[in-house]
Symmetry: C2
Subunit: 409 residues, 2 copies
């Protein structure tokens, strides 16, 4: 009985599991420590009352003959698909058809599962640093070769750092799939229309596909940054977009997201050109039974007037926290990026300290939990991620403590 | 840009999509037809009030600081894991550890995703007829060879039919993975302790793994039939068990299930013996963010006294329907199997009619939707599945109509 060695060969644990382990060990030794968590990207503010009430009503309705819902449509209820199209696309002048929207239990499963559509020998490109799921899910399927000296042998890395202003170069070798995430996790930086257009033009020319993770689009404040890759002409030919209710509506524990696969996006199966939309339909209807009905009702409530008002209150709250971190650390002599159109602040470690060392330092000296940049890829070394998802009070306190550590270095 | 040709090469649509298509076409031509659906295994009775109330309370609580829950533990909340262990295992004298339980959004995703742990050249065996997900998910990963004359070239089929009393023989060639589902979907038949023990002994001897789908265990009434494969000595070494809240608690639209992977179940990665429990942990934490909190609260409510009382009322209701179909069709001259410990009745088509022809006949002449046996595999040809999940009244009416069709043949 042989197993998938590619899973067993994955280096160490998933990043956040490793962080949890170190925090647990520290807490066991220091049970009274007042830890502040600016590490994992989990939200802290309660759900919108309006959205929670919609979910509760749907749940209770499930115990009545009129309100009961069995198997959901495989790709999502049309009431939610229509709300998404209207709220996120038509309203921006983007045309998306209902059969191009796929509701799921989150953007992480979507970006993790999507690679099943690609051939086993596809070449993958990612920006570096990067959200680990793009890499690990492809590694598990054996596409990335061997892991040596912190790098996968077949993965194409596009470094993003202070030197290039966190704007990746186009791949110089043939990449079949390019994962882009903007506003970016972990760096908190964005691409302008003009910068993103270069990637879309490249993908069309090279017959490549862009997987565009737009989970953080609700945080965009600048006018020259696209909310959707489909605001770029031609993107319907080459781009799949993944979105989430986790960060805009606080759904990390509710679980809902969606993926847009335009009919035009295609690739080769043998000599035949096949639509990825059709392929994903087959995959989804075989391996999933759709998303919980009360959850879909809750997601739809995000889009009505009251829902929008209530969720945007939280988004603004988190953006204000991001400003507190950005300004506070810059004022304390830190070098920081992101945090204006994103809940993430990307800071250079002081004196080019190793990022896991800085993690341990902040954990020990400031009782603040962040995320070491190296966990996001080789170019993340020397950087550190802080999130704006805690309370204003704890965020301010964390910044004070980190400033204290910086002052002593 | 090359795609996964194995998905594109899958024969026709997923079974239930094909049925939906034919029903839609019929309904378009006959908009006033009073269709009765005994086809897809979807439940119809509302959720237990108690369970729905628990979910609604949890949903509403999510809008308060005290009740809010962000990311769930990757493998499930311990309140649910403990309830499962107590309710489904300890109470039957089976020892399962909390880290051997994995909560998911359903048994279908679990049995669909589990194959990712197996090596690409693993040999798969299934009973025939079979729930299509076991086959299709492995076909998508390229393990089954080519599909010719209704069969996959590398898949090992274990026929189950009236001649062998629906008890499969042991595989005669080396099978790395054997999928068993009991009470069986689609045949509605069961294996006794003694019959299942033969498979467990075989798996241990052959270093094979049994994936045991126990989604229908709530329907077991006979005393000589195990509720869990772990009631068989040695099964902890070789068996993974998948369970669902869909059919016992009506969760087809709520989405929750769980999988048991004992620490002892292992296979080879190169020359190293690796625990499947550990491998699944890695897979789950990389590609999922756990299950919706209100859904897990609802699932836990299934296990308390009121929850059990209310859900078992529905199970008994469906079992009574199964009795109505079984006795009604037998009385009308039909040959029927299953339906005593299962919500499914498996009937031989009259005069060995092709099962899709019988499907069309019942749709046209009786306005009853069933599922053609051929959709479940080559040995399903000449059989037809009917489900007990409709109302008593509609079930009785459907039986009357089918009996009318049988009388005319």
């Amino acid at each position: 009985m042989k197993l998938n060695s590619c899973i067993a060969a994955l280096p160490s644990g998933y990043l956040f599991a490793e962080i949890a382990k170190r925090v647990k060990a520290y807490s066991a030794l220091h049970p009274d420590a007042d830890l502040i968590r600016l590490g994992i990207g989990d939200v802290t503010r309660p759900l919108s009352k309006h959205v929670a009430q919609a979910m509760a009503d749907a749940a209770l309705g499930m115990s009545t003959p009129e309100g009961f819902h069995g198997y959901a449509p495989d790709y999502g209820y049309s009431f939610l698909i229509d709300a998404i199209i209207q709220g996120d696309y038509s309203s921006r002048g983007i045309e998306i058809n209902p059969d191009e929207v796929f509701i799921s239990d989150g953007a992480k499963p979507d970006v993790g599962n999507l690679q099943e559509l690609f051939s086993a020998d596809s070449r993958i490109a990612v920006t570096d640093p990067v959200y680990p799921v793009y890499v690990d899910s492809n590694a598990m399927s054996g596409r990335l070769g061997v892991f040596e000296n912190g790098k996968w042998s077949r993965l194409i890395y596009l470094p993003c750092n202070a030197e290039n202003d966190f704007v990746p170069s186009l791949p110089t070798e043939k990449a079949d799939i390019l994962y882009l995430c903007y506003p970016n996790n972990p760096t908190g930086t964005v691409l302008t229309f003009a910068q993103l257009k270069k990637f879309v033009d490249w993908a069309i020319e090279m017959d490549s596909i862009i997987v565009y993770d737009a989970a953080y689009k609700a945080f965009i404040t600048r006018g020259d940054v696209p909310f959707s890759i489909y605001e770029i002409p031609g993107a319907r030919k080459c781009a799949i977009e993944c979105c989430s209710f986790s960060k805009n509506a606080g759904f990390t524990g509710v679980r809902c997201g969606y993926m847009i696969i335009p009919r035009e996006v295609s690739g080769l199966c043998g000599t035949e050109r096949v639509s990825l939309n059709r392929l994903w339909q087959r995959r989804a209807s075989t391996k999933s039974n759709g998303v919980s009905y009360p959850v879909q009702v809750a997601a739809a409530a995000v889009y009505d007037e009251q829902g929008q008002r209530e969720i945007m209150e939280s988004v603004r709250y988190y953006l204000a926290n991001a400003g507190i971190i950005r300004k506070g650390l810059a004022g304390a002599g830190g070098t920081v990026f992101g945090g204006t159109d994103s809940p993430y602040i990307w800071m250079q470690t002081p004196h080019r300290m190793k990022s896991w060392d800085f993690f341990d330092l902040l954990l020990n000296e400031a009782n603040v939990v962040g995320t070491p940049g190296e966990g996001f890829g080789p170019s993340g070394e020397g950087y550190f991620r802080l999130t704006a998802f805690n309370t204003k009070e704890k965020t301010e306190e964390a910044v004070r403590r980190i400033a204290g550590v910086l002052a002593k270095l």
